[in-house]
């Protein structure tokens, strides 16, 4: 070493600088200590809160969906246990082999396993994944028994919608379905997104489930859970939870026993039936056949079932009482009779029916080709004589007919809460101008009125409208149908009996005629006569043409409607009310392509009305869910 290692100046500089360095370091340490003091002492509370926010997550507790019950508290839509299997991949060594093991106990095809494995990859190992739901109790208990040998499996009991009466009430209640992106974006669901995102959460898709979805949904509860950084739940803090509130109970006017009876009466046909309490407007029966099982939609409908429902010519998915329209046929003669009186025709006005009437350039035939002879208005209704009404039509203004028809409930929808109601068509001059705007057909031809008076031509109505028509004829009051009596703490106001804006005396001849239709010999619907004279029934048949048998058809030997293919046969209709002198119930039945109102519709209406009058539900106290809510010990089922 060249340089003296004992260079005193060098050592002095180093010593000074080393002390300086040590002092500087101590200063930096003081700064770090200061920072530590700030974090751990001054801002302690803030960071404690942040640490708690880290560990504790709010978990939404899904509320039970409100029940839908019938007039006497019988459940039409409730909730049942949904036995399902969740799978936590984190608790297994190998998710794929664990799934294979599970597939020994429940049906879990390979493509489904692949889909689950892909989902695991997407959502991470700590998120439970639903691998199967709606297991039978047998399957569920077997899995529970084998649980020690099935790593990762987490059996869970959830809730799912249940429709105890299945197809019988499908069109009233509707069904629920899985939440879609459109639901999450809907402005009406603002603030409810978290609830809607809960696994297995359902929203109303059809019927009352859809209209009253908000009321039925209930209020979500909250529970804090302790989670780790990966979102895995370490602990549930149940004592601080706010419980969810079940949705409101909907109490309906429907009597499910009668509903089932009506469905049975219509079984095998493509048909609809509506029964009303004429004093309140309560819809007691809203039947449509064939129907479908809403439980199938809830669980997730198979493509095969969906296809067969859609392709069935009997249209099981169509809510026929509300959403299907039919030419009302001769049931419309009740309206024509009143319209004639409005125009100054007296019920005593007589017409001789020779079986046909020449008008314009052709004959209009009566259904009875040999003719009815001389009839007054009552007789014309009793026998459903076409020529009588053709004769009236020659001098009737179609606008007057349309006005009466609307006053009796046709050509309009009602506030029922069930979506998809059709208005039907009540033709008048204005309708024709709008419908055929600009073409020569835009003006009304009197010949068309001849079709309208017998309920043909452009006239269409829904079975519900026909039932309302029967109820209004029976009472002379603006009966308004209703189906939801009570929802939550709200209740429909008592119906107001507003008289129809027509001279009440005009109804007398119609009621007398309808009475004769059923109860006098020679009436068209003797088959609808009630066994119990206390429930004497008045009605009117209708047979509405779907297809006119042509000369070519006759040449081929097709003369009777039975020879036609089903879809070309006439519709069969019947409207009625009972008892005649103090009406309580009204009913309308439509059997699609049933050929004859008297033969097909009237007996079914009689069958339904017999069930209704035997039970006489309007005389019984209806169920009030609010009474149950206030008094938990009260009997729930009526």
């Amino acid at each position: 070493m060249r340089v003296n290692s004992h260079d005193p100046e060098r050592q002095e500089v180093l010593s000074r600088r080393a002390v300086l360095f040590g002092g500087g370091l101590s200063l930096v340490f003081t700064a770090i200590a200061g920072r530590l003091y700030q974090l751990q002492i001054i801002d302690h509370d803030k960071y404690v809160k942040l640490a708690l926010d880290n560990q504790f997550n709010k978990r939404v507790l899904t509320p039970l969906r409100g029940e839908i019950v019938d007039r006497f508290g019988k459940s039409l839509a409730s909730n049942r246990n949904n036995f399902r299997l969740l799978f936590v991949p984190d608790q297994t060594r190998n998710a794929a082999s664990a799934l294979k093991e599970i597939s020994k106990y429940i049906s879990l095809p390979e493509d489904r396993q692949d889909r689950i494995l892909r989902e695991i990859k997407r959502r991470g190992p700590y998120t439970p994944i639903e691998i199967e739901s709606n297991l039978s109790w047998d399957e569920f208990s077997r899995i529970n028994y084998e649980l020690p040998y099935l790593p990762g499996v987490l059996p869970d009991v959830g809730e799912t919608r249940d429709y105890p009466f299945g197809p019988a009430a499908a069109f009233v209640v509707g069904y629920v379905g899985a939440v879609t992106e459109a639901d999450l974006d809907a402005p009406s669901n603002k603030g409810q997104e978290t609830l809607l995102r809960q696994p297995g959460f359902k929203v109303g898709r059809e019927g009352l489930e859809r209209t009253y979805d908000k009321d039925l949904r209930g209020k979500a509860g909250e529970m804090e859970v302790k989670v780790n950084a990966y979102g895995r739940v370490i602990e549930e803090l149940t004592d601080q939870a706010t419980p969810p509130q079940q949705g409101a109970t909907l109490a309906l006017t429907i009597d499910v026993e009668l509903q089932v009876a009506a469905m049975r009466a219509l079984e095998g046909e493509s048909a609809a039936a509506v029964v009303l309490d004429v004093q309140t407007g309560d819809v007691l029966v809203l039947a449509s056949t064939p129907s479908f099982d809403p439980n199938a939609f809830n669980v997730g409908i198979s493509p095969e079932l969906w296809k067969s429902l859609n392709e069935n010519p009997y249209k099981p998915l169509l809510n026929k009482p509300l959403s299907a329209v039919y030419p009302p046929g001769s049931t419309f003669k009740t309206i024509s009779a009143i319209a004639a009186q409005v125009s100054g025709v007296k019920p005593s006005f007589k017409v001789n029916c020779p079986g046909r009437l020449w008008y314009g350039n052709r004959f209009f035939h009566c259904w009875r080709h040999e003719g009815h002879g001389v009839l007054d208005m009552r007789g014309a209704i009793k026998h459903s004589c076409d020529v009588y009404f053709y004769t009236l039509a020659e001098s009737l203004d179609v606008d007057v007919i349309a006005d009466v028809a609307r006053k009796l409930g046709l050509g309009q929808t009602f506030e029922l809460g069930i979506p998809g109601q059709k208005k039907g068509v009540i033709p008048d001059r204005q309708w024709k101008r709008e419908y055929y705007g600009g073409t020569p057909n835009a003006t009304w031809f009197q010949g068309e009125t001849l079709s309208v008076v017998i309920g043909q031509g452009s006239v269409t109505a829904t079975p519900l409208q026909l039932a309302v028509q029967a109820a209004r004829i029976a009472t002379g009051v603006e009966v308004r149908p209703r189906i939801v009596r009570v929802w939550g703490d709200k209740e429909l106001p008592a119906p107001t009996a507003t008289p129809i804006d027509l001279n009440p005396s005009y109804f007398d001849v119609v009621r007398a005629g309808m009475d004769a239709v059923v109860n006098e010999s020679g009436g068209t619907a003797g088959r609808a006569r009630m066994a119990d004279p206390a429930w004497r029934l008045a009605g009117k048949t209708g047979t509405s043409q779907v297809y006119q048998i042509s000369n070519e058809d006759r040449a081929k030997g097709l003369t009777k409607p039975e020879d036609l293919p089903w879809a070309r046969r006439d519709h069969a209709l019947f409207i009625c009310f009972a008892p005649v002198d103090n009406p309580r119930y009204a009913c309308a039945v439509v059997v699609e392509h049933g050929i004859g109102g008297a033969k097909m519709a009237a007996p079914k209406a009689q069958q339904i009305m017999t069930a209704v009058t035997q039970k006489n539900p309007s005389a019984m106290t209806p169920f009030d869910p609010r009474a149950v809510a206030n008094n938990p010990t009260a009997e729930r089922r009526g």
């Binding site: 340089v3 751990q40 942040l50």
Partner: protein
């Protein structure tokens, strides 16, 4: 090595052992035990996978440190340049034969063992600079011609480490080198001008927007890939939550929610101080910091009493490296410095850093022994 130890001065091993600076060894052991305890807690109350290994590594490292300490400073003087250039050569080989790990080339294989040349360089640079200044008189230090060699000696390894890329180690090496030049007696004027120049260059780069913000972001992410994977300073926030929620007395051993629930990232390495602070609170964290400060001041004290300029410079260089580790790491987990990925020495899990640090303290120990030898020599 054993031969060198035994042959030196014909003194008994037992006598030499008694002359070791045992308080320093005890303090280092206390720090390492804090590391073992914290790693045990970080694993949810388990010796695996970190605590056991950490303890064993420290035991081996202590033996190594004592071995290095027993080697006389005379040998280290002659080994200083060779060690520096071996380290530099190995660093230069990294881009050619290095292993790519987490987006950076840091490792090379020697005889089937993985080895990180940048760690060897931490010792090599200290020894090399100490050796260089051993040959300079005080008035020569600030001479421009005598400034070029140390700047090259610092610049070359810093550049090589920077391109690996390992920003943290490059900064650590550069800062250690600059501190040693300052300790050697660089005139305040030149030091001030140099500092001014560096700040000016950095400011103008920022001011005239040579780099757009996103480019700065990209470069930083490139240099340190695990800097902030979740964005928005997630790591740092979780660390501050951990420390802050610990409060004065801490949440108790193995009770830290941030660590036990795994909200802390990299908790066994860079963020271990957070676990310690969360579970033992301000009191515990301050105790650990004071322990570190005491080790540093003890090291300075040893350096000041060492016999040769080389020994003094070497000990000071080791102390500087150690101090930088402690300050950068603790400053980082508290949000005082950017997250650059520097471990807390002897506490963080990781073998290579522990070996480097303990080897450094071996040199400090050797400097301490050189003083003892001198004193004893005078007495006899």
């Amino acid at each position: 090595m054993a031969a060198i130890i035994l042959s030196s001065r014909r003194k008994g091993l037992r006598e030499k052992l008694s002359q070791l600076h045992w308080p320093l060894i005890v303090m280092l052991t206390l720090i390492a035990l804090a590391g073992v305890a914290t790693l045990y807690s970080a694993a949810g109350g388990s010796w695996q996978p970190w605590a056991m290994k950490h303890g064993l590594r420290f035991a081996v490292s202590v033996v190594m440190m004592i071995g290095i300490g027993l080697v006389s400073m005379r040998y280290w003087v002659s080994l200083a340049y060779p060690i520096y250039f071996v380290a530099l050569g190995a660093l230069a080989l990294v881009p050619l034969i290095g292993e790519v790990n987490m987006g950076a080339q840091r490792w090379i294989e020697v005889g089937g063992m993985q080895f990180q040349p940048s760690e060897l360089m931490k010792i090599g640079l200290v020894l090399g600079l100490a050796r260089y200044y051993q040959g300079l008189r005080a008035e020569q230090v600030s001479h421009i011609l005598h400034l070029i060699p140390p700047l090259l000696m610092i610049g070359a390894p810093v550049g090589l480490v920077f391109i690996q890329p390992d920003l943290g180690t490059a900064m650590l090496l550069g800062a250690t080198g600059v501190i040693m030049v300052f300790l050697a007696g660089l005139s305040w004027r030149i030091g001030f001008l140099g500092l001014l120049g560096a700040v000016g260059a950095g400011y103008s780069a920022y001011r005239f927007e040579f780099l757009k913000p996103y480019q700065v972001e990209r470069i930083l992410t490139f240099l340190n890939p695990d800097r902030d994977p979740l964005g928005q300073g997630y790591h740092l926030l979780q660390s501050k939550i951990g420390l802050g929620s610990g409060g004065l007395e801490g949440k108790g051993y193995m009770m830290g929610t941030q660590s036990q629930l795994k909200f802390l990232p990299e908790m066994q390495t860079d963020f271990i101080f957070t676990i310690f602070g969360e579970e033992f609170g301000f009191i515990g964290a301050m105790a650990l910091l004071l322990l570190y400060l005491t080790v540093i001041l003890t090291g300075i004290n040893i350096a000041l009493r060492a016999k040769t300029h080389f020994a003094r410079m070497t000990a000071m260089g080791v102390v500087a490296t150690f101090s930088l580790y402690v300050l950068i790491n603790t400053g980082m987990v508290m949000g005082l410095f950017p997250v650059v990925g520097v471990p807390l020495p002897l506490v963080s899990y990781g073998g290579t850093v522990m070996v480097t640090i303990m080897a450094g303290f071996g040199l400090v120990m050797s400097a301490h022994m050189s003083r003892e030898q001198e004193a004893l020599g005078r007495l006899s």
